[in-house]
Amino acid sequence: MGARPPHLLDFQDWTPERLGAILDNADTMLQVLDRPVKKVPALQGLTVCNAFFENSTRTRTSFELAARRMSADVLTFAAGASSVSKGESLRDTMEVLTSYKVDAYIVRHHAAGAAHLVARYSGKPVINAGDGRRAHPTQALLDAYTIRQEYGSLEGKTVAIIGDIRHSRVARSNAELLPKLGAKVVLCGPAPLLPAGLGALPGVTLTTDPRAAVRGAHAVMALRLQRERMSGGFLGSLQEYADTYQVNETLMQEAESGAVVLHPGPMNRDLEISGDAADGPRSRILKQVENGQAIRMSVLYHLLVGRN
């Protein structure tokens, strides 16, 4: 299975077998979540710090619940992005948190690579909960898990990801993870939002044509269009984008017959995704949220239990 990596920062050090073990373990965690008492003692006595340097409600809540359901104590540190601009280095912040005797860190930060720095300074397991455009590995794991629930395996499957690829850590993490599990990834978006450099990743192809992207796909993921990026001149207009790239039932006709629709949320309805696609029978968007908690429990278990 290969050595157990000390952190989950991205998937570079993770073998397919290790990743498969996390997905397998999530099955057990889902069963825990279905019990009347949704709690196991696996992390009793351990303290997990939610170090959020960037605002997030969904991911923070999901991690917090995951840790609590494993009986860990949870310390939530919401620094906001401002502490860095006030001059405190990430290292200084981490040294303060370390003095609280934390056993693991869940880190979200606006800058790519920040979770790597935390891992360097903390000396404890670090789970990347999203760093800039770089990575959001637990999101990718829950996406992979959701697709695997449909098909039993990722092997030979094609996943189309459509939207603002340039600014998306979800797209990058999926592009790294899914090929490791045997799937092909097609990244699709308007050319300015589709960096050519990503085409160098193994198992990943790029296209600006959404119909071509979806053709033969087993899962289609719409990404949130980050409206704040509009000022950068990346798009002519939101309407132009929606008319061309929206994931809707018409577009889904091109996909495999049983293809499912995913979205990492939060959604801009009727912009990157239509109501019929978001709420229709193909949608697995709420399933993703549920699976997210199980995946995060599984990751915490994998990184923390039996380590000492």
């Binding site: 280095s89 990430l90 800058a111 690579g113 920040a114 800039g132 770089r134 850590r169 450099g197």
Partner: protein, 419 residues
Amino acid sequence: MITITNIKRVGSEKTESVTIENGLIKGWNLPEEGDVIDGQGGTVAPALIELHAHLREPGQTEKEDLASGLAAAAAGGYGTVVSMPNTSPVVDDPAIVRSLIEKASGLGFARLRPAAALTKGQKGEELAELTYLKEAGAAMFTDDGRTNENARTLRLGLETAGSLGMVISVHAEDASLRADGVMNEGPVSEALGLPGNPASAEAARVARDIEIVAGLHAQGVPARLHIQHLSTARALDLVRAAKAQGLPVTCEVCPHHLTLTDEALRSFDAIFKVAPPLRTQADADHLLEGLRDGSVDCLATDHAPHTRAEKERDLLDAPSGIAYIELAFPLMYTRFGETLGLERILDLMTAAPARVMGWTEPTLDAGQKADLVVLDLTTERTVNPAEFKSKAKFTPWAGETLKGWPLLTVVDGKVAYQR
């Protein structure tokens, strides 16, 4: 008076001595007089000249100051340092130029030749008082750290500076193409999810600036443009073409752009964040070829010290810059001594910068200014940042084994550094 014994001139196996008096080289192999210093069998060369260093004084002395920066330069074998004007306040006032020169002259380390800002406050709008700045002792004009977005202002500056016989040096980078880029744009930046700075940001600006010089040149207006820290193959090709047309354009390359690539950013360590960014191996190879064939005029380090805390920030928030003036020669000699040859490396760090500036080329002849360095070309030593004279005690090359370390630096006939 001092006599340095037991030294060899470049290209010679003969052990000699040199006697120095009143700041000048009195002669070679004379009877020993004054203080006698053992050169330990080292190789003697004219002291190195740095055209691009950030000494951070006034205003940012927590990063570096004249004493630490010039001591670091002397330890690196440099006799003369051109400091950049992007301090706080900006060096755009003759009084600041005078005060810097006066302060530095009393320190006894490397000689300071401050560059002055091209525009008031380095804002790129109104030209600074270039005539007065030259009279005060400014070595050149530059808005380094800023990118001269206003082409007309640069043109007016080139005309004025040209009439004064002065060089304008530029940080050639189109700010709108660079956008929020923090590293070279390419597969590495995309895989890391870091905003990229495309090679075209540099090449496009170099092309624009060369066109301005070409236009002035065609009208017989004297103007000299020096392009700082060239990082891309495309931009170097543009400089090559300009030189082939006889245009008065020169350029410098930094050792870090020759020895590191954007792959280093995979560590997410902001120590590798520089402006312009580390590029690809193909770019580095092309720049090295430019050093070999003469299309790159000289080497400069862009010594840019920051505090450790600033460099421990994430890559978006950390400032750009590496400080390594103390090991520039050992780094170049160890990595490229065989490909470029000792004499070419020394030329790129001594006579070549002087030619760029229009200064007298330094030599070791009797009667010349006694600025010299004695280099130990054989002993290997590990880079230990704790020993740096610079306040920036960290470097990408910490722990590496290098040879070519300075043993002795003499500036104006006085010992500025001795190991």
